[in-house]
Symmetry: C2
Subunit: 79 residues, 2 copies
């Protein structure tokens, strides 16, 4: 068993209204000095030894990310 982390973030050129809402709320709540916030997703997968990197990339690209508007990364981490 290995743990795989897939991170999915909105592309730089895509508006991110959730992140903008957080960035707008921070000064009202007393937190200054934060100029930008972007919100994405993080997945943790438990995979067995039969799953290779190309399968993980297919899963990230086809299922976990919308590649029109999102970038993704896959990495294996210590379990």
């Amino acid at each position: 068993m290995a743990r795989v982390v897939v991170e999915v973030m909105p592309k730089a050129e895509i508006l991110d209204p959730q992140g903008q809402a957080i960035a707008g709320a921070l000064p009202r709540l007393g937190f200054a000095g934060i100029s930008d916030v972007r919100q994405g997703k993080r997945f943790e997968l438990e995979v067995d030894g039969s799953v290779d990197d190309s399968q993980l990339e297919k899963i990230a690209e086809a299922l976990l990310a919308n590649t029109v508007i999102e970038d993704w990364t896959v990495r294996r981490v210590e379990a």
Copy 2:
């Protein structure tokens, strides 16, 4: 300017229906060998030098995570 990453994941003892839905869909879509999926959130913040670690922890704990059901981590990364 520095970049800060806040990761928010459902606590281990909390059911994660989004992750379970993904884990259930994978075999139907032809991907075997993935035993568990958990879905969380990932935030990227651009912060200036005036923001210290205790402020970042307050932001993560009070605003970005629901600490009843979620764990969070904060780390500074290379810009």
